[in-house]
Symmetry: C2
Subunit: 353 residues, 2 copies
Amino acid sequence: KQIILLPGDGIGREIMDSAKVVLQAVAHEYGHSFTFHQHAIGGDAIDQYGTPLPEETIQACQNADAILLGAVGGPKWDQVAVHLRPERGLLGIRKTLGLFANLRPVKGFQALLHASPIKEEIIQDSDILIIRELTGGLYFGQPSERRDNGNAVVDTLSYTREEMERIIDKAFESARIRNKHLTSVDKANVLESSRLWREVVEEKAKDYPDVTVEHMLVDACAMKLITNPSAFDVIVTENLFGDILSDEASVLTGSLGMLPSASVRSDGVGLYEPVHGTAPDIAGKGIANPLGMILSAALMLRFSFGMEEEASEIEKAVNECLEQGYHTADLRIKDGIQVGTKEMTDKVLENLT
Amino acid sequence: KQIILLPGDGIGREIMDSAKVVLQAVAHEYGHSFTFHQHAIGGDAIDQYGTPLPEETIQACQNADAILLGAVGGPKWDQVAVHLRPERGLLGIRKTLGLFANLRPVKGFQALLHASPIKEEIIQDSDILIIRELTGGLYFGQPSERRDNGNAVVDTLSYTREEMERIIDKAFESARIRNKHLTSVDKANVLESSRLWREVVEEKAKDYPDVTVEHMLVDACAMKLITNPSAFDVIVTENLFGDILSDEASVLTGSLGMLPSASVRSDGVGLYEPVHGTAPDIAGKGIANPLGMILSAALMLRFSFGMEEEASEIEKAVNECLEQGYHTADLRIKDGIQVGTKEMTDKVLENLT
Ligand SMILES: CC(C)[C@H](C(=O)O)[C@@H](O)C(=O)O
Ligand SMILES: CC(C)[C@H](C(=O)O)[C@@H](O)C(=O)O
């Protein structure tokens, strides 16, 4: 398997090393052969090539079986022109590779739940998979421009029925192998695109009679994620709603630094990245939490390579570390032992077999 | 002062009666003269006139000094064609009257904080005013239509610089008389409209040197509202972001049924409504919580009539009731006394003078 590593900026490089050694250990144990090639993206690529997504990186990714991404961005590039910003690299790679389905599991770790801003009794049984459409909507719709001598502006929320169908299919398939409940989120009382979305969901629902479907308005969903998160199983929504709701959901468990994400397309190729950012303030200090990146590598094994057993083993090892009290500086565990990036990675390795 | 009452649907009628008697008591105490005229909107108007916003209602509102709205919508009208739905009445009245600024205060009541899904230490000092642009953006932008034989769809996020300027001015003015901190929320790393928004905020900031401004991405704001709500003072954002974030924020205090909202324009005319919905399941039972409606009437006195003292008196009376342990069925107070809509209203009246 050809795996492309895009460490990106800030703590990206440190945590990528952790993911790599964990993958190497798993490959050794199960007799897999993974090859790794590292390329530049984001601010790192701006510094080296003058563009956040160099042609060479695109080509490498196009030939890859899967991609691991650290994180992109940082204050260093804040003054760069918009179309050359580090985030453009991320948007560009999603779009170029057609990674239309962003999967964001939100599930707390028992040892960390006490750190949640939400009361423990409300959050403890939550296990949500948010599926966000990633290559359409307001992110890429045209026109997106100033008008009337700069005195007006438009952006366009644009979708084809086909783009809706494939993400909604993905959501039904995911619900089918989980708890068979799908919440489709839209703003159908205002947006025409949401009304088409609802129609497509209704049509597709006929193909998945074993899955129950409910429609929810995005504002209502933003409330219910806080008041009753355990009522959700799979949530599916368009790009921008998904951006907001998945980030909202990510803080519920009290361990943002732990959460992985997957951006995939139908043939299984995918890009995997932790939900947290580049954390420029702690970059290079060896104290970053590598677990979100390691868990992203586990998602890669599951979703892109179909290696369920290997993925579960990594996830169990991570959980073991927390149960043993090991945590990085961003986390708190009662009577726990604070460790750095490297020690945390070593603990995961120890718990692997 | 001419006040138009639009009770609307569900519990709207019951709680409107409560607001009216409280206003009458205040008018009596302070020697004001308020006249009330009631008109139909939403499902109620659909049943009576076949349209959610009858011409007669529009005209009455156009001549009013202020408008009180209960709530609109309910399952009864779910099958009605989209452009005739109860919510259209609400969107129509906002747009027709040019009520561009939606003000949503989010502040908990000490007696109710324990009911928050958020840990008390996180939420207790929060006092946020969310200012949402209400007549632009994706809600009204054109085109909003199906294309390519129904196989594609677009909605348009459209703003003029002027529409941005007036809401941003409103936000700076509000911050100035509060804690002088403004958070402007956008998605400037993706949307051209957000980049213009940021420019306008930067320009306006020069006119309000006493107010500190920060820019925040909408996804980051959705997180921070949960992890650190007390870091906010005034938040200003465009229509749809404001819809999502203000509803998200409304559940933080644990007392959605208590929250008022104001939708105003520059000359002081405004529409005031509670944040909660029509609650069709308890409509007509005399158990609805009238406090959100009563507090909306207080906002009307403050924002539309400049009657600060009168507004504060109502707010204090409501707080007194809670401190005395009185609560409706939607709330819980330890060792409290559960009462119905009418008794709750009577308790507010008792606490008034
Ligand atoms: C960096 C930004 C453009 C991006 C997005 O909005 O998609 C990020 O917030 C994310 O969710 O991955
Ligand atoms: C009913 C609906 C159209 C409305 C909106 O989205 O503005 C509501 O959610 C609100 O916030 O008042």
